[in-house]
């Protein structure tokens, strides 16, 4: 027995809603050596989390480990009783969840939850556990390590919670830690700090790890070896360098190429005197009751001005909470701006969507981040697309029918999908339907609010390609809101960087490599690169980090 983990021919079955049994993991085998960090990478539904959880002898409700063996430190998790498995969990194998915010019990203090492992397994006295936890907080560079434990989960930030969940995983002195997409929910500037903290603690303790992620660049920073998964099967295994530089499997190459989106061919209509399509002047928007000066209590967008020219795209980038979605909602009139002018196609628009004419509404469409919540689950694709056609164009059934086929063609969806409901579509297909609904109005401008963030890298790249093609064909303009610089870079001519509700910088694409504003510099340098040495070599001005990161 040489390796810490030996998985042989693992099979996991899931029971679908209709009661059918589906094999979601078909015979996966791999090893993990002592102190080695192995990444499981693949799109959602590829079974990476399911495999990782089997290392703890656990399958989510509805799933069942149906075959093979999973041995951790010589013990086959399959043959252990539930009691024996519980003894392994938290001590030998531990878990860092995807969303720490959801994985902390809101009704108990952080310290209680961090040292709960020692209490369950009777590892050490409570006082000793507490001082150990404080040491871990310090090692994970958390602020105020002495007192942070006495807070409740809602009182600390997302990045801090993620590191606290790592402390929770490390306190039982495990041999193996499972990281389940631990940085996916974080901003890039926060992600760096969390990754660094994980890496140094793991290296120092010589702890083996399984790092589940869909982001190759993040994985490249921390993993020794990468296992590429698709459809519950191993596609390719190799050291991080091998996979990055010399990928053999087509799927791996697809993943890699999705990482370097082709920049948009410069739509250089600059000579033809660009006419502004949308002009925003000194817009202020926010939430809460309005104060005596007519401004809302909490101002999410402060004094933002911008221009979008016909046939060109504007990207708005910034971390979560910087006001970029609020800005989109104010432009669309969903959340009426408190102050400011919105001039669209030469005419000033009402601040609230109610004050706009139907034609003005038609010409500006918004596409939301989560197609799941934006599409009515009870309606078929056909009904969803027919609604704007009737509402804006008053089409009869025959014209609608033909137009729906056209729209489905435009977003590259097979026509026979029209009878399905959103629940029967994949994530990428849903987002395409969501986009087709906006196209149905024949808009001039489409506001895209993080439309690729919920999608896998490969699928997102395909959606971006689609947007570019449609722009060429239909002469649309986009306002593209995202926290992901590479996505914005791929499609936008101009980029606006937002921070704390304000616009901090206007950048044209040519100058993307050399931003001026310190926050833009920090943000741009925080985007992980497909280079295993990037994190270690990265140097950021600590002054800047302190000023702009609410870590």
């Amino acid at each position: 027995m040489g390796n810490l983990v030996e998985i042989r021919d693992l099979k996991v079955e899931a029971t679908t809603d209709s009661g059918r049994r589906v094999e979601i993991i078909n015979g996966v085998s791999f090893d993990i050596a002592e102190g080695e960090i192995v990444a499981l990478i693949g799109e959602s539904g590829s079974g990476k989390t399911t495999i990782a959880l089997t290392l703890m002898g656990y399958a989510r409700p509805g799933c069942r480990i149906s075959g093979g063996s999973v041995s951790v430190a010589g013990k086959d998790m399959m043959t252990l009783s539930e009691k024996q498995r519980a003894r392994v969990r938290g001590t030998e194998v531990t878990y860092v969840p995807q969303s720490a915010a959801a994985a902390f019990n809101p009704a108990a203090t952080i310290m209680d939850q961090v040292i709960e492992v020692t209490r369950i397994h009777g590892l050490m006295a409570a006082d000793e556990a507490r001082s150990r936890a404080v040491d871990l907080f310090r090692a994970l560079s958390l602020p105020e390590p002495e007192t942070i434990g006495s807070r409740y989960p809602h009182q600390v930030s997302g990045g801090q919670l993620q590191r606290l969940s790592a402390a929770m995983a490390l306190i039982g002195d495990p041999n193996l830690v499972i990281f389940d997409e631990p940085t996916t929910a974080l901003d890039v500037t926060t992600q760096i700090e969390v990754l660094r903290a994980f890496k140094s603690v793991m290296k120092k303790g010589g702890i083996a790890g399984v790092y589940v992620s869909h982001d190759l660049a993040v994985v490249a920073q921390i993993a020794d070896r990468i296992i590429v998964l698709k459809g519950g099967e191993v596609q390719e295994v190799g050291t991080t360098e091998e996979i990055l530089s010399n990928a053999k499997h087509p799927y791996t190459r697809e993943l890699l190429s999705a990482f370097e989106p082709k920049p948009r061919e410069a739509a250089d209509t600059a000579e033809t005197a660009p006419a502004p399509l949308l002009k925003i002047e000194n817009l202020v928007a926010g939430y809460g009751p309005s104060q005596t000066d007519g401004l809302p209590l909490v101002r999410a967008v402060e004094d933002v001005s911008l221009n979008v020219e016909k046939g060109r795209n504007l990207g708005i980038i910034g971390e979560s909470g910087c006001g970029k979605s609020t800005l989109a909602r104010a432009i669309a009139g969903i959340l009426p701006a408190a102050v400011g002018k919105i001039v669209f196609d030469g005419r000033e628009l009402g601040r609230s969507a109610r004050e706009r004419t139907r034609d003005q509404l038609r010409e500006m469409q918004i596409v939301f981040q989560y197609a799941d919540t934006a599409l009515n689950p009870a309606k078929s694709v056909e009904d969803i697309l027919a609604r704007p056609l009737t509402f804006y164009h008053g089409m009869n059934a025959k014209a609608r029918n033909a137009r729906i086929d056209e729209l489905l063609d435009m977003v590259r969806l097979p026509r026979n999908l029209r009878h399905r409901r959103p629940g029967e579509l994949s994530g990428g297909q849903k987002q395409r339907v969501n986009f087709a609904r906006a196209l149905a109005a024949d808009p001039k401008l489409i506001l895209c609010d993080e439309i690729t963030s919920a999608l896998d890298t490969v699928v997102a790249a395909a959606v971006i390609e689609l947007l570019k093609e449609l722009q060429r064909e239909l002469g649309l303009s986009y306002i593209f809101i995202s926290h992901d610089l590479s996505v914005v870079e791929a499609i936008c001519d101009e980029i606006v960087v937002m921070y704390g509700g304000k616009k901090v910088e206007d950048i044209t694409r040519a100058k993307v490599k050399t931003p001026h504003h310190p926050y833009s510099k920090l943000l741009f340098s925080s985007v992980p690169k497909l280079d295993p040495t990037w994190l270690d070599g990265l140097e950021q001005d600590p002054e800047l980090v302190r000023a702009y990161c609410r870590r």
Binding site: R60, A86, R89, T94, F104, N105, A107, I120, Y152
Partner: protein
């Protein structure tokens, strides 16, 4: 931090107070809408119009409704519930003993039903999908569907008529020993426990299952926690809000909704008093009973609300 809790609690109390005022308004005007003229009913068919007119004046029935309302509410605030039309006794005296009886019955029932319901609800949530869970679910749904007069009369038939173990009627005043007490309360309490537990079991089970499905409970499992620990340390504290609300709602039924049980067992409680008052058109008594029910209901719901606020660390 504590200021926020205080203001939340105060605002709940304020809302309760406002509700009470609105209800008193509604109660008063609804009762005055009852058909028939109180004075002529009281004096009987043989009364002369002059006598009726005189009585109307004496009872202030000739004044506009709003004045009578104000007079009534001022009286209420001073603790004067008015005088019964039917037998000239102060309403407070009429209600007093009955109210204590009702509280006794409600208290004993709560003492039995709440622990039973919570235990059944929590255990069936823990063993979700098992045979035990299914049996509990089928039984609770069965009990919900059977009307309470059916349960009560069946209980009388079985325990009093055939087995002769228990007295068919409950005379709450003849308690001399603990055995007596148990015998007298047994059947009403069993019937009421059946009626109110079902709801509590269902709500508790649903609330606990919902929290058991959260990522933090899965996290506890992956920390090696045992099943009881997952439920009692992680799921239950977060399910407390919905559970206390369900309990409060069920218990509020014990104040005013027990008329059928009181009638069948001839238990001298307040609900029966109110129904008797309606048949004699005894307005002050009806109004006072309605206000007591409303007050009890508000008290329970507000308490539940405040417990839910205090159990949530985001608000604490």
């Amino acid at each position: 931090m504590n200021n926020r809790v205080l203001s939340l609690v105060l605002s709940r109390l304020l809302i309760a107070l406002i509700t009470l005022v609105i209800v008193s308004f509604a109660v008063f005007f609804a009762t005055t809408l009852l058909p028939g003229d109180t004075a002529s009913i009281l004096l009987g068919q043989a009364a002369t119009p002059e006598a009726v007119e005189g009585l109307r004046k004496a009872m202030h029935l000739d004044e506009p409704a709003i004045f009578r309302f104000l007079r009534w509410i001022v009286g209420l605030m001073q603790g004067d519930l008015g005088t019964s039309y039917a037998n000239e006794m102060p309403v407070a005296d009429l209600i007093g003993g009955r109210f204590v009886n009702t509280l006794q019955l409600a208290g004993v029932t709560a003492l039995f039903s709440v622990p039973i319901a919570l235990t059944l609800g929590i255990t069936s949530a823990m063993l979700r999908g098992s045979l035990y869970d299914r049996i509990v679910t089928v039984l609770t749904i069965g009990v919900i569907s059977v009307p309470e007069f059916m349960i009560a009369t069946s209980a009388v038939l079985i325990f009093a008529v055939y087995l002769k173990w228990l007295p068919a009627l409950s005379f709450a005043n003849e308690v001399t020993s603990l055995a007596d007490l148990l015998r007298i309360y047994a059947m009403p309490v069993i019937t009421l426990t059946f009626v109110i537990s079902a709801q509590m079991i269902r709500m508790t089970r649903a609330a606990v299952i919902e929290t058991l499905n959260t990522p933090y409970v899965e996290m506890a499992l992956l920390k090696g926690a045992s099943r009881p620990r997952m439920v009692f340390r992680h799921a239950l504290p977060n399910a407390l809000g919905p559970i206390v609300n369900a309990v409060a709602l069920s218990l509020s039924y014990l104040l005013g909704g027990v008329i059928i049980v009181e009638t069948i067992f001839n238990y001298p409680g307040i609900a029966k008093l109110m129904v008797d008052a309606v048949s004699t058109r005894d307005l002050p008594l009806i109004q006072s009973c309605a206000m007591i029910f409303c007050l009890g209901y508000l008290l329970l719901i507000t308490t539940a609300d405040i417990i839910a606020i205090l159990s949530n660390p985001r608000l604490r």
